[in-house]
């Protein structure tokens, strides 16, 4: 076995160990350790990604001496490697971009706790991406939930505590559903490993056994993950959780945590239950309806909002709706579009949150639209970054948002039954997106005379560098989309 095959396991354990060691360190040392870990995890994920592209096939890694179905297993293909690399990069950039803000908002003796949470969150995301075992996935979903809660409440104001409580209740409900679903799958198949469940389930579906419990299990799993990733009717925890937490937490939560769960759902659909079984169960229709509703209602709520962070948070509801609409269309092309939208949304939303924090800083920390007038001139790099993010969200060519909308439109044209509602929803949602994002861009570039000082680039090099990286990544996704879409297709084929 090649050395690179060890990397998924090493990167997960390294993140956990880093978190553990950080609990004995002071804030500054924990920060450096975290940076080293992020860098190493990025390099390892990149090599796994490159290795799977070169060999052209996925590999499994036995965690310990006992092969599956007796022991735990990891599995890495092109999609897993790419996702892991992407998560590491976004996490690094979000943490660097929000670092200055973080140090002002958190009590100094609790700073190392923040980096512990980040390390363990990364380990749980990597495990969710790589795992080949449903129970391991559940264990790391737990770690993910608890650390996300910590990330929300670390800047202790009343609103973050309230938001964290709400997140905790909703998220634990989702975890509970997921656990019930996994238990029922185990009862029906006697396995926890994804491939073995898939084979046993296939046999029992052809034999006509377990039809009712299987349907209920699929419902449980889908609803559980939908609650955790804030699909429309379950999105009420989202605006406060993203809107009031410290900015790098908001960026990480919106672009990584919910995406980790969605990636788990993709794994469940392809590798555990089977695409055709899911499609035959008509659960995709329900996901489609709620996805479309989320696209429109999320955008409408964002238009009504008077607080820039909450507006961006509500826009997340709409974007999650896009992803679920892709699942709902139930074709391979739509799935590719959804995966691409995961990438595109993660890049753009983190950029928007970080740049909005920059704009708010240039306006005496106010987040209301009236006070943000002209802040694009006072903090130029944040203004440019916000404009780029907004253009990408609306779907202007050159940016990644355009490609994902194009892919969704193409996918919906090929689906005869759902073409009309999908197209109409895409059009309405795009217009609504344009209304609230362009309103904000015009607002921040309206000249106004104030005595508020400008924020200079020189003093915020880390922030500026992270903004530049995000914009570059966004344009890279927009320009090299053919290559990426090909890779996603290969990755999804490797899944089966």
């Amino acid at each position: 076995m090649d050395l690179i095959c060890n990397f998924p396991c090493i990167s997960i354990v390294m993140c956990i160990l880093g978190g553990i060691v950080s609990s004995a360190l002071k804030g500054r040392a924990a920060k450096y350790l975290n940076a080293v870990i992020l860098l190493a995890a990025t390099i390892m994920s990149a090599s796994v990604f490159g290795y799977t592209i070169m060999t052209g096939e996925s590999f499994t890694y036995v965690m310990g001496r006992f092969p599956a179905p007796w022991g735990n297993e990891l599995r890495a293909g092109v999609l897993e490697g790419g996702m892991a690399l992407f998560f590491c990069v976004i996490m690094t950039l979000s943490l660097f971009g929000g670092q200055e803000k973080l140090h002002t908002e958190i009590e100094p003796q609790k700073l190392n706790l923040y980096y512990i949470l980040c390390d363990l969150l990364l380990s749980s995301l990597l495990s969710l991406v790589y795992t080949n075992d449903l129970f391991t996935a559940y264990v790391f979903v737990e770690i993910n939930t608890i650390s996300a809660c910590g990330l929300i409440m670390i800047s202790q104001t009343g609103r973050t505590i309230e938001a964290a409580t709400r997140y905790m209740i909703m998220s634990l409900l989702g975890s509970g559903m997921l656990l019930l679903g996994i238990c029922m799958l185990y009862d029906m198949t006697g396995h926890l490993l994804m491939e073995n469940i898939h084979q046993t389930l296939r046999a029992s579906v052809t034999a006509g056994k377990f039809h009712v419990p299987l349907m209920i299990t699929i419902g449980m799993l889908c609803v559980g993950i939908a609650i955790k990733s804030a699909l429309f009717p379950f999105h009420t925890w989202l605006p406060d959780a993203y809107g009031y937490s410290t900015v790098s937490s908001a960026a990480i939560l919106s672009s990584l945590v919910s995406k980790g769960y969605i990636f788990l759902l993709i794994k469940l659909i392809y590798r555990v239950i089977g695409f055709d079984v899911i499609y035959a169960s008509r659960v995709t229709d329900i996901l489609f309806v709620f996805g479309v509703a989320g696209m429109i209602i999320g955008s409408l709520s964002a238009i009504k909002e008077n607080d820039i962070f909450r507006m961006i948070a509500f826009s997340s509801v709409a974007q999650i709706g896009y992803i679920y609409m892709g699942f709902g269309l139930g074709t391979q092309a739509a799935m590719v579009a959804s995966v691409f939208h995961i990438l595109s949304h993660a890049v753009t939303k983190a950029l928007l949150f970080l740049s909005a924090a920059g704009l708010a800083d240039a306006s005496d920390g106010s987040r209301r639209f009236l006070d943000l007038t002209g802040s694009g001139y006072r903090n130029r790099i944040a203004g440019i970054a916000f404009a780029a993010g907004a253009l990408s969200m609306v779907g202007i060519p050159l940016f990644s948002g355009f490609i994902s909308k194009l892919l969704f439109a193409e996918a919906s044209v090929r689906n005869s039954g759902k073409m009309l509602p999908a197209m109409i929803a895409l059009a309405i949602s795009t217009i609504l997106n344009a209304i609230y994002f362009m309103k904000t861009v015009i607002r921040i570039y309206t000249p106004v005379k104030t005595d508020q000082g400008t924020i200079l680039l020189k003093k915020h090099k880390l922030f500026a560098a992270s903004m530049a990286c995000f914009i570059a990544l966004n344009i890279f996704l927009g320009l090299c989309s053919d290559w990426i879409v090909d890779l996603i297709e290969t990755g999804l084929e490797m899944f089966v």
Partner: protein
């Protein structure tokens, strides 16, 4: 100062341009009174707010609120009943418990039962399963406890200064100090609890128990000790430093051992840790040290939860 000689107009001009100081007796100005909050007005304001609150949230005045609450309750009950029905229906279709032909009785559990002792060296096959076959899950589960401890620290950990100044107020504010009955009972019980917990940890691979249960017992023993004798006595052997040191050492050791196990196993390399004779105390390879470190970590976390919830520090 010769201000008396200047005319009123000049003096006004000086004051207007800010040339005269306000309090040098040159201008007939009164010093501002110290701000004193009007307690009556404050009370009136609060009373007003309470009345408003009452008016909005009291169901007798607010028909909408009443309707909302009723609907909320009814919907909640209906949803729960529906969920229960759905789950009961699902269970009724699932294979019956304890049947020999169930899907769960397959080659997986068969191997655990038949080859467990030979593979892991642990007589207690549950311990063998969680620490050897499915070691990754257990490592994750231990870290769930670790991260939960971190989150509680974020919420409840107080600054050292605050902790010291409010130590008396928090510690035993509501409870009697130096309760003789409790102390006598603790004197007898705590050593027994400690010894039994160590026994459970060390015999995890031989008899029921293991790191998690032994650690929980040890934590309970420490909580009992603290209840009886107070934080000052406990801090002599278990302060924040010791807590951090034990927690970090235990978890790092666990991480290193488990990484060794993963990498050796996955790459097909020879495992240098002997399994020993099943049934002996020094057997089962890595399971014994892992049980010990898991036990220490669980005990630390248990006690930390108690200390943080009671007074926000150690």
């Amino acid at each position: 100062m010769n201000t008396e000689k200047r005319s009123v107009r000049e003096r006004f001009r000086d004051w207007f341009y800010g040339d005269t100081q306000a309090f040098d007796e040159a201008m007939p100005m009164r010093r501002q009174k110290e701000h004193r909050p009007d307690l009556e007005a404050q009370k009136e304001y609060e009373r007003e707010r309470a009345r408003m609150r009452e008016h909005v949230f009291n169901v007798e005045h607010n028909r909408e609120m009443w309707l909302f609450r009723k609907c909320f309750e009814i919907m909640g009950i209906v949803l729960c009943v529906l969920m229960v029905c759905v789950l009961l229906i699902a269970v009724s279709y699932l294979p019956p418990t304890g049947h020999a032909d169930n899907p769960a009785n397959n080659e997986v559990s068969q191997l655990y039962v038949e080859h467990g002792i030979a593979d892991t060296g642990a007589v207690n096959s549950v311990t063998g399963m969680i620490l050897s076959y499915r070691a990754f899950d257990t490592f994750g589960e231990t870290n769930v406890l670790f991260i939960a401890g971190c989150c509680v620290m974020i919420l409840l950990l107080l600054d050292h200064g605050i902790l010291k100044s409010s130590a008396m107020a928090n510690d035993r504010f509501y409870e009697p100090k130096n309760d003789v009955i409790l102390q006598q009972v603790a004197r007898i019980l705590v050593p027994i609890v400690f010894i039994f917990s160590i026994y459970v940890m060390l015999n995890g691979h031989l008899s029921p128990g293991g790191g998690f249960s032994g650690g929980a017992m040890m934590g309970a023993g420490m909580i009992l000790y603290t209840c009886a004798f107070g934080f000052d006595k406990t801090r002599k052997f278990f302060g924040e430093r010791v807590y951090t040191a034990v927690k970090v050492t235990a978890l790092v050791l666990y991480g290193v051992m488990i990484t060794y196990y993963y990498i050796m196993g996955a790459n097909g390399l020879e495992n240098h840790i002997p399994l020993g004779t099943p049934g002996a105390i020094l057997s089962a390879g890595l399971i014994l040290p892992i049980n010990l470190v898991v036990g220490l970590q669980v005990a630390c976390t248990m006690y930390a939860f108690y200390a943080l919830f009671r007074r926000g520090g150690f």
